[in-house]
Each structure stands twice: as C-alpha cells, then as structure tokens.
C-alpha cells in the first residue's frame, strides 16, 4: 500500500516524544504477533513515553504497558495521530 502525502496516517516512528495516536494496523505479521501479545494492538491508543539517545529505541505506553522497541520495528506500525 502506498501512502498518500495528504494521508493522515503515519508510522509510529514519526511520532514525537509525548505524541499520542491510535494504532490502525501492524504491517509486519511477525512483529505484530509479538506486539499484540504484549498488549499493543489495533484500536488501542499509544503514547510515545520516552526515547533513548538518537531517538532509538523508543518506549511506548499502550494498554497500561510500557514497551521498548527499535525504530525499525516502530516503522511497521501504522497509526492515526490524535491531539492530546
């Protein structure tokens, strides 16, 4: 799927620290299984809680859990930003 420039969808790695979004889908099946198991699934609200040096890895808060993941993995999560 090609993303349109005007699309309001983003991938999670584009979200700033403190940014909030709703998860739409997780593109990579294997990553999605791991993330869903940990409570990070479509429909949930995700908050970028903190980032390490170089903004990689990042830590997200979702369904009450804090999960660290690398930017490359965050890139496979499509989100719709929400205004905090």
């Amino acid at each position: 799927m090609v993303l349109n420039k005007n699309d309001e969808f983003l991938t999670l790695d584009k979200l700033k620290n403190g940014g909030q979004a709703v998860i739409l889908e997780i593109l990579d099946t294997n990553i999605s299984i791991k993330l869903i198991e940990m409570g990070c699934l479509p429909g949930e609200t995700v908050l970028v809680r903190m980032t390490a040096i170089g903004k990689d890895p990042i830590a997200i808060e979702v369904s009450g859990n804090l999960i660290a993941l690398r930017r490359s993995e965050a890139r496979s999560i499509r989100v719709k930003p929400v205004d905090a």
Binding site: N30, I33, K34, L41, M50, A52, L66, I67
Partner: protein, 709 residues
C-alpha cells in the same frame, strides 16, 4: 493418593511468577535445563494439607503459547503433547491483577487445551491500591475457573491458594478458538488423526510444527493435508487468533472489572524513568552502578576469596601430614584440592554478581539499561542486554556468561557468550602484573601517570576492543533463521524482594558448583597427572640423583627440595609436552618453559605465575615477584645465548594471554549455557587462534619496527 501431583506454573513475564514459585517451594528447588535447550528449568516440591506431595515446574514467562524460537517451544511441549510423561495434572496460572486483559490471553489458550486450571490473581494489594475493582465471583463464573487473589511478595492468600490446590483446579467449558465453520470441522478431524484432546491442541501442532524424528508419518500427513486444504498461513492465523481472544476477554472483563484512574501511579513511574533513562543522567547513573558492582567484585569479594584459598591451603597442608605420602596423598593435596579451590574461589564473585543482577532485574532497572544501551550495542550484533555480561567479564567470565540468560535474543546471546572471555578478567591480572613489570619501567610520565599502570590499562582496553571486534565478525558469521527483534517490556518499578534475590543467588551458586564444577575437577586431575608424572626413565634419574645427595643442614635440604621439584616438572609429561610444542611456539618467541606454563595455565591463567616460579626454582605463588623477575631476565637460550625474555617476547606473551582461551571454567560454562560442543570449540579455537596470529605478528614485526624508528 500418595503418588503426588504435577503442577505447571505459567504466566506472563513480570507477574511475580518466580516470587510465587519461591513462596511455595522455598529452597526445595532444582535447577537444570529443559532437555536439549538452554532454557533454565526450575522445579520444586511442597506438601499439601492432605499430605499429597506436589511437584511444581516453573515454565518460562511467556505472553502466549505461540512459538518464537525452538528454545521457547520445548518447555510448552509438555502442555501440547497429551502423551508427554511430564504432562501436568494442574496448571497454576498467575496473572497480574492490574493487567488482566493481556494476562488472560495466555490463560484463554490454556483453557482451550482443556487442562485443569487455578487462576492466582497476583499483586491484588497493588491493584486495590490503584483503585481497580475486581468482582472475583463474577470472573469465576464467566471463566469457569477457581480464582484465588494473592500477593506473593507479602505472603497474602498463599494459604488459600494451597487449599485450592488441594481441592484441585477446574476444566473450563469456555472456548476461545477462532475460525470459520469448515475450518473448525477440519480442525476436529485433525484432532482425531493426531489423537489430541482438543481442537486448539491440534491447531498448536500446526503452528509449532513439531516435526522431528518422533513424529508419526500419519500425523505428518494429516498436518500437511490441513495446511494445504486451508491455505494455512501460520503467522496471520496467530495474529487473528490473538485479536479474537482480546475481543472475547474484553467482553468477559467489562462486566467484572472496574478500571481505575491510575494516572497518579503512572506519574510516579514516569518521574523515575525520567531520571534513570535521562540522556545524560541516565548514563551517569548507570556507570555509577557499574562502578559500585566493580568495587564489590574486586574489593568485597576479595576477602572471602582469600579466606577460601587460605583454608584450602591449610586443608591440603593438613592432609599432606595426615595421610601417608605417595601418589594418593599427592593426588588429593596437589590435584583434587587445588581443583576444588579453583572452583570455590569463584563463588564469592558469582554470588555478588548474581545478587546485583537479581536486584537490577527485580526492580525493573535492568530493562532500562537495555533500553539506553541498545543503540550502541546493536552495531556489533549485540543488544542492550549484553552490556552487563561484558562489564562483568572484567571480573570473571564465568558469572558473566551465566548472566547472559537475560538475553532472550538468541543470536545476541550467543555472540555475547562468545566474546565475553576476551574482556580482561581478574585471573589475567597476576600474569599481566608479572610481565608488565618485566617489560615496562616503573616510571612516572607526564607528571602523574605511572607507566606500568598505563600499560595495564592498555591491556584492559585491548580486551574490550577485541571483544567488540570479535562481536562484529560473529554478527556477520552467525546466520539466524528467525528475525531478531528488540521488543521488550519495561516493567513497573518495584522494590527488590529479599527472598527472591537470596534464593536466586543460592541457586546460581549451586548451579555453578554442581554443573561446571564436575568438568573443572576432571581437568584438574588430568593436569595434575601431567605435571607430576613423567616417562619412568627420566623421572627415576631425577629421583635417584636427589636421593644420592645428603643435605648438610635444613637450609640446604630446602634448596635441594626446590630444585628437585623444578627438575621433576621439567621432566614430567607436561615438560615433554612443553618441549613438543616448542617448534610451534618458537615463532612467537616462547621457549619450552613458557610452553609448560601455557599448558598448565589451561586450568586457569593465574597458574602461569606458579608454574614459572617453580620452573625458575622459586617457591610457588606468593613469593617475591622481583626475585622471580630477576631470575627470568637472567635466563638465556642455551644455543643462541640470546635473552629469552626480550621485549618482543614479553609483549608477544602479553598479547597471547589477552586473547587465548585458557580457562576451562569458562569453557565448561559456555558448554553448559550453549548446550553446544560446536560453539564451545569455536570459542576455544577462535580465541587461541587469534592469540597465536597476533603474538606471531608482534614477535616478528616488533624488532623490525624498532629498527626502523
């Protein structure tokens, strides 16, 4: 019922599973590995109120029954294979009461396997404090399972849990298996062909694909048939299955649970994270923690280590007097006891290190360290969790390699195990001090720096650089079929639990003593034999020569005894081996005496000093380094009359000790942790190979270079 029941303890990571396990079993635990894999298996037992013995196995913390790697699959085989001899009679499921939605996903999978289950809602006190309201009766009814609210840390509800275990679990009638009509029918058919108890069980067989030698051809055919009939895509099926479970669980929970506003709790957690993962202070704090660990490993552990060595020396002295002389006495006092002491001496460091790591893990800090260090370590094929083992390696590679258990990522863990022994461990220190003192003048440069200190620091840097370089090479060489992720839960901060930490320390020490210890003792005995016996002819000549001399006084007697020892070692099998390998090590600038020391220091590097002392006619360790250095510098090649310990030889020897794998304890632990002879051999040969090549280059090129400049 005297046979006893088998219980499997299952739950998500960070739910207090090991705390409950410890609360139930205390120290009545055994640790080992699951057959063929490196995942630690802890089991223990306890008595129920009716006198029945319960044997409980702590399965690895997991978010679902879906396989991530082969290692993770095997512990769950006991649940999925209905004919497995270790199949549990009861599953004790532990869930974090504040995080039920996610926890119940795994529970729902177990429910679909139709196994009797008891659900323990752990940390119920914290959930209540946060304001979460759980209607236990409502959940018991909807899930069809007995539920016991507990707090494993505070020992709340454990009695009720034991009582419930005595009564037994229940098989829930709920079903969460997802699929269309035809697929469900096909699954039922597959269930019959496989002879398993439920449809979901059949489905898990499809996902796990346990197709090894034991798989019956008929079963394999049935699995293949299902896969092609239903266009079975394991990945997307797992995803859809999980999503469906979340949906059903949300519906169940919504009627029984009132979520609370946990923002105050979260804000506190955020504050701690703000400091500990701060882009500046986070690293300062981490290095301060490391400094503290270092101090403990070097200074605090030093006292018990010295005490252990002293008591073994005392014991072997006593034994030498007590039992009559001869081979048996010698074997015990010079073979077995030093071997034992070589193992025991590691215990304080292992205990301290596992204590610190247990505290870091229990508080949730270790996950933050992994978080802030991941980016740097990734470049070298390692990950954030490799930092602690690498740093610990500067004390001793043995506990360091044991601490790689925290690294779930298989490839990173293997690389960490492979390169950790390159870090300069404390056993290299005596060798470095002896040799640096030979080659580098004790002078102050630039006003404040001690030249020998700088050289010593250089050797530590060299070890670190070598470890990173080797990791980079392994990153390319190790092929991994499974894509490597770094997706890691950062658990809630908690105060460390004294019991959990203490029991972890005891178990780590026990595991080291009994598993690595066996191999170390065996090799010690072999080395003792090589160093104390020789070809009969040459050996008898030495004995006869010294028997013929009658010492005039005690002083002369002492000198004679020492030189007899020296000559015996030179004529022993180890001596012969030293001479045999001389052609190989000659290009590195080493003579046969160094060869003997290389062979004996395979037991442990620091043995080098003792062996060299004996070879140069001094008493063993603890004697004066300066006298030894003087004797070494005097020695010359009998043919060429060149100095043996030229600058090039010393540097070459230092490089050799920095790189070579000369520690059987490490090899024993590597073998235990990788469960692979291949990787143990790779470690032995790549390190020793690198040592040879670099020592060769240094010895051959250094004189050329000094002539040029």
């Amino acid at each position: 019922m005297s046979k006893g029941i088998k219980i499997a303890l299952i739950g998500n990571p960070n739910t207090g599973k090991s705390t409950l396990f410890n609360a139930l079993t205390g120290l009545k635990q055994k640790t080992g590995n699951f057959p063929g894999v490196t995942i630690e298996k802890s089991s223990g037992h306890f008595e129920l109120e009716d006198g029945t013995m319960a044997e409980i196995t702590d399965l690895p913390g997991s978010y679902s029954l879906f396989p991530k790697s082969l290692d993770e699959t095997i512990p769950f085989k006991v649940l999925i294979d209905p004919t497995h001899p270790q199949r549990p009679d009861l599953v004790l499921f532990i869930a974090d009461a504040s995080n039920l939605k996610r926890n119940l996903v795994l529970l729902s999978q177990l429910i679909d396997l139709k196994i009797p289950i008891i659900l323990a809602l752990n940390m119920i006190d914290q959930a209540k404090a946060k304001g979460v309201e759980i209607d236990i009766a409502c959940m018991e009814e909807k899930l069809g399972l007995p539920i016991v609210p507990i707090s494993a840390r505070k020992n709340i509800g454990i009695d009720k849990l034991l009582h419930q275990i005595a009564i037994g679990g229940k098989i829930s009638t709920q079903e969460f298996t997802f699929g269309g009509q035809t697929e469900i029918e096909d699954l039922s058919q597959l269930q019959d062909s496989l002879g398993v108890t439920t449809r979901y069980n059949a489905l898990l067989h499809l996902h796990h694909g346990f197709t090894d030698k034991t798989t019956k051809p008929a079963h394999k055919a049935a699995l293949d048939k299902f896969r092609s009939n239903n266009l079975f895509d394991s990945g997307s099926r797992q995803r859809d299955d999980l999503l469906n479970r979340y949906k059903l669980i949300s519906a169940i929970l919504s009627g029984c649970i009132k979520e609370a506003d946990t923002s105050a709790f979260k804000r506190r957690q955020e504050k701690i994270d703000g400091i500990l993962t701060h882009k500046f202070w986070g690293y300062i704090i981490f290095f301060a923690v490391l400094f503290l660990i270092f101090q403990a490993l070097f200074s605090l552990a030093d006292y018990p280590m010295k005490a252990i060595i002293a008591s073994f020396n005392w014991l072997s002295g006593k034994l030498e007097e007590a039992i009559p002389g001869g081979a048996l006495n010698d074997l015990v006092s010079n073979g077995i006891l030093p071997g034992l002491s070589g193992i025991m001496v590691f215990v304080p460091q292992i205990a301290f290190l596992s204590m610190f790591i247990a505290i870091m893990e229990d508080t949730g800090y270790l996950a933050r360290v992994a978080f802030i260090m991941d980016r740097t370590m990734r470049r070298f094929g390692l990950n954030g969790k490799s930092v602690v083992p690498l740093i610990s390696g500067t004390a001793c590679a043995v506990p360091a390699i044991m601490s790689t258990r925290n690294i779930e990522n298989r490839k990173s863990r293997l690389i960490t195990i492979m390169v950790t022994p390159l870090m300069s461990c404390s056993a290299r220190l005596p060798v470095y001090i002896l040799l640096v003192g030979l080659a580098v003048p004790n002078r102050t440069v630039l006003g404040i720096f001690n030249l020998q200190g700088l050289a010593l620091m250089g050797l530590y840097v060299l070890g670190f650089v070598a470890a990173i370089a080797a990791a980079t090479v392994f990153k390319v060489l190790i092929k991994s079929k499974i894509k490597q992720y770094f997706i890691l839960e950062l658990p809630v901060y908690r105060l460390p639990n004294v019991n959990t930490v203490a029991i972890t320390v005891v178990n780590k020490v026990k595991a080291f003593l009994f598993q690595a210890g066996k191999i170390i003792i065996a090799i010690s005995i072999i080395l003792w034999f090589l160093a104390s016996y020789g070809p009969p002819g040459a050996f008898r000549k030495v004995e006869e020569k010294y028997a013929a001399i009658k010492p005039v006084d005690d002083a002369q007697k002492h000198v004679l005894a020492l030189s007899e020892k020296t000559e015996k070692l030179q004529n022993s099998f180890a001596g012969d081996l030293g001479k045999a390998i001389e052609p190989v090590i000659r290009p590195l600038g080493f003579d046969w005496k160094i060869g003997i020391a290389l062979i004996t220091s395979f037991a442990a590097r620091e043995v080098f000093v003792g062996t060299i002392s004996t070879l140069y006619g001094l008493e063993g360790e603890g004697s004066d380094f300066n006298q030894l250095r003087a004797n070494m510098l005097k020695s010359r090649d009998p043919v060429t009359h060149r100095k043996i310990y030229s600058f090039a030889t010393i540097v070459s020897l230092l490089i050799f000790y920095a790189f070579a794998m000369q520690c059987m304890s490490t090899l024993a632990v590597t073998y235990k942790e990788t469960a692979s002879l291949k990787w143990t051999m790779v470690q032995l040969f790549y390190m020793t190979g690198a040592a040879y090549v670099f020592s060769l280059l240094i010895y051959q090129l250094l004189p050329v270079a000094t002539r040029l400049f």
